[in-house]
Amino acid sequence: MKHLSEEEIYALSQRADGSRHEHFAECEQCAAEFDQTRRLLEMTAAAARIDGPGPGYGDRVFAAIRSSLPVYGEVKPKQPKRSWWAWWRTSGGLAFAGAAACLVLLAAAFWAGRVFEQRRGGTGMETAKGNGAAGQPNRVVFVVVRDHLDRSERLLMELDHAGHLTRLDRGPLEREASDLLEDNRLYRQTAAASSDPALASLLDRLGRVLVEVAHDPSTLEGDSSTRAREQMNLDGLLFELRVLRDRQDSKETKL
């Protein structure tokens, strides 16, 4: 006897009317399988008849999950994309740019000034040096040298007109000569370096007189005083000094 397949038995077991196939009357094995399958499905259907979760179940479920639910309406609207200019304006960029522009202008002005000065003949120091080399010392040099020459002239005049001096009389002259001596050395060196031979020569001879007066008081005493004055040729030196001072004055006026 040919048995029904399991699939056929399963299909027969699902008949809604619950009728048995005629084969089962003849085949005990297939009938047993059929009954077993029917019983399984009946058990399953019975197990499916479950009670609901009871009243208030939905509320309990919602309460349990509520805190995990995001609120969709709270999503912030997307901000329109800001242009770089708007960002620049609101973030203090303009102030920064202004400050940077000022710095650039300042630097440019400084640079332009330097270039202008260089084209005009170098820096202030170089100008003074260049003028000195050309025999044209600047106004400060003129004033200082002129003052030195004036003081020296006054000292020489006092020496020229002084007779025999006592120890007390010659004290101020010695101190003045000593003061002038140091300045004179500096001006002489400067005049020699700036190629002004006339001034350098005068200051050289003036220096020797000042040394004599400051360190050898005997030149101002007794007969030796007259002799010393002749040796120093104070009159000639005074004349030269005045000529040179006049020349300095005229140069200063031109400047």
Binding site: M43, P53, G58, V61, F62, V71
Partner: protein, 190 residues
């Protein structure tokens, strides 16, 4: 006036989170029953229901307002149930009853001519059935439960499990075969 499912979904999307409560109250019982049938116990079903409605809320932007929310959430519930079954299987928690423990057992108390109601009276038999269900694969178990507990057609099962109707039919049949063999020692002696 009762608010419709569609209005609830729209309210939720507009920022009214509590509008979702109406949907949960309305559909949680049916999801619970299906989950209970698939998982076999109320505790797991409860977990499935919460996971289902949480997942539904998070995916509610994908819900098409023309569709039926009940069907949509039911499908999510089935997927959540399958996920839980997989999880339980990994954890080994499905071994409610050991096969060997009942393998040698032959229940003689049940008469062959007994009505289905009498069969159900046997707690042992029901226990055996549940244990056998636990040894099915997730797809077999889901397909069988949907077919014979939720009365879904093969097409609906295929759609829910994202398989073809033929595959769904095969899955249900394999489940029946396995269950029948598992329950064979319980064959009522004539």
């Amino acid at each position: 006036m009762d608010i419709t499912d569609r209005e609830c979904v729209e309210a939720v999307l507009a920022g009214d989170r509590d509008a979702y409560r109406h949907l949960v109250v309305r559909h949680s019982a049916s999801v619970f029953k299906t989950a209970c049938r698939m998982t076999g116990n109320e505790a797991d079903a409860d977990e499935v229901v919460q996971e289902t409605f949480l997942r539904g809320y998070l995916q509610i932007r994908k819900f098409e307002l023309r569709a039926d929310f009940g069907t949509w959430i039911y499908r999510i519930g089935v997927n959540c149930s399958i996920d839980l079954l997989r999880k339980r299987k990994r954890q080994g928690a499905m071994r409610v009853a050991d096969h060997e423990e009942y393998g040698e057992m032959s229940v003689q108390a049940v008469d062959g001519s007994a009505s289905p109601e009498r069969l159900l009276l046997s707690g042992e038999l029901e226990w055996k059935r549940r244990a056998a269900m636990g040894r099915l694969t997730e797809v077999e178990r889901a397909a069988f439960a949907l077919r014979h507990m939720d009365d879904k057609s093969m097409e609906e099962i295929g759609e829910l499990l994202e398989i073809s109707a033929d595959s769904a039919k095969q899955a249900v049949f394999r489940a029946v075969q396995k269950l029948r063999r598992e329950l064979e020692p319980l064959r009522v002696k004539q």
